[in-house]
């Protein structure tokens, strides 16, 4: 998943489509509307329409289709448990069960793939308690470094025989390896704290302030919102 996440993160900053230029706030509102519609829509036609819209958003944002498919396909494994439990011999029930989470995750991938994380987290951090909002920024910043190190640790464990032998030994060795990551995390926090003090940390990480600055690209987001609303009104009562 690290590659998927890293690629999406890169596309968010490097993309040059109108979706990338639109403000984070307008995209967040559109994404929230789409996710809520996907969760509550009773009509299979509407769900299919929303899924098509989500693909339209992702492809016009020039997100690679394979990457998008992989990133948004995670809910399938979990949803299969529900499909298994609620299988009634029809195609409609499994389709309905699958389309809801797939649409929601695809919309999330579009949002993250078109919005750099400081812009995305800035409005969210204003809704959350202060240290949770700050935690969002700091955790995301630490994530790629820790993932890279953990991946390297696993490779080293395998090369040195840590992946062979009895399961109990392997698990304990894995735990000891992860403990080095805990120590690294502690040392990293000391360095980060020193850096924050040097840069005049005022007690709050605010992120950028232009997450709500509108541009002409926001008209596109508004148009997409109108199309989705019209479609939802038309298709809501269909089977």
């Amino acid at each position: 998943m690290i590659n998927t996440l890293a690629q999406i993160d890169h596309l968010a900053s490097a993309g040059r489509t109108p979706w990338h230029r639109a403000s984070a706030l307008s995209k967040l509102l559109l994404a929230a509307g789409l996710v809520l519609l996907a969760v509550f829509a009773p009509s299979l036609w509407l769900l299919a329409g929303l899924y098509a819209v989500a693909w339209g958003l992702a492809l016009t944002a020039r997100l690679p289709w394979r990457l998008t498919l992989v990133a948004s396909g995670y809910p399938v494994a979990f949803t299969l448990l529900f499909v298994l439990a609620r299988w009634d011999g029809t195609v409609e029930t499994p389709l309905r069960l699958l389309l809801r989470p797939l649409t929601a995750s695809l919309v999330a991938v579009w949002l993250v793939g078109t919005t750099p994380y400081p812009d995305l987290f800035a409005p969210l951090s204003r809704l959350l308690p202060r240290n949770v909002g700050d935690g969002l920024f700091l955790t995301y910043r630490a994530l790629f470094e820790l993932m890279g190190r953990t991946g390297g640790l696993w490779r080293a464990l395998r090369l040195r025989g840590g992946a062979s032998g009895p399961v109990r030994r392997r698990l304990t060795l894995a735990g000891e390896g992860l403990a080095t990551m805990v120590l690294y995390g502690f040392e990293r926090s000391e360095r980060l704290y020193a850096t924050m003090r040097l840069r005049g940390h005022s007690g709050r990480i605010c992120g950028c302030h232009h997450f709500a600055e509108g541009s002409r690209a926001d008209l596109l987001v508004a148009a997409a919102g109108l199309i989705v609303t019209a479609g939802a009104v038309l298709l809501w009562r269909m089977p």
């Binding site: 809910p75 529900f82 698990l171 000891e176 992860l178």
Partner: protein, 218 residues
């Protein structure tokens, strides 16, 4: 298994909406508890949050199966109740934003994982004097996994019941989920043993009840 994140749209709003409300309420309460925490503490908490995410991503090869750890037990012991809930919420929010788990069910996913993590430190403190840090960490992680996994199974059972799924189908789902639940308890506990054994040797002050605790009182 408790970090098999529930996606959007499979649970009724009757379950996820109160879950989201309760999680936000707990976040506000936790933020009040952690009000005076230093930026270093926040940076440490975030680094361990990133480690939880990294552990969830990396595959631990176990013969034919690959297991994804959660590390919520050990991190819960290291950070304490208020911090671990924040860590779990942030981790779930980040995962939901990349399509792993749902945006509407962030609260419920955080409650399921966080409930176990919140219990980890009290269990650890109850056991550490008698058995020492590695065994206490193992016990704390086992309890965290038992609670989180049981909550996950309970959420699934309620969701299936609300959607009028017959008892035979519920048994079928339980038959798939229960072995994973048991495996998760054993694997996470064994890994936690290794985590505590290493930290006890190298930096015992990072553990609660260690020589010179590093802001571990919250």
């Amino acid at each position: 298994m408790s970090h098999l994140h529930i996606p959007d749209g499979v649970l009724p709003a009757l379950l996820w909406a109160p879950g989201l409300g309760l999680a936000l309420l707990l976040l506000v309460l936790g933020a009040r508890v952690l009000r005076g925490a230093s930026p270093q503490r926040l940076a440490y908490q975030s680094a361990l949050g990133a480690l939880v995410l990294a552990a969830m991503v990396v595959e631990l090869p176990l013969g034919p199966l690959d297991y994804h750890l959660t590390l919520v037990g050990p991190v819960g012991v290291l950070l304490g109740a208020a911090s671990i809930f924040q860590v779990v919420f942030v981790a779930n929010a980040i995962l939901a934003l990349v399509g792993h788990g749902g945006l509407t069910v962030v609260g419920l996913n955080a409650l399921v994982l966080g409930a176990g993590g919140v219990l980890a430190r009290p269990v650890y403190l109850a056991c550490v004097r008698r058995w020492g840090p590695p065994v206490a960490m193992t016990a704390a992680t086992a309890v965290a996994q038992i609670v989180s996994g049981a909550l996950w199974l309970a959420v699934m059972a309620v969701a299936l019941h609300v959607q009028a799924v017959g008892p035979n189908r519920v048994k079928l789902v339980a038959g798939v989920a229960f072995p994973l639940y048991l495996a998760g308890i054993v694997i996470e506990s064994a890994v936690a043993f290794g985590v505590a054994r290493f930290i006890t040797r190298v930096r015992p002050d990072l553990l609660p009840g260690g020589a010179t605790p590093v802001e571990t009182s919250r």
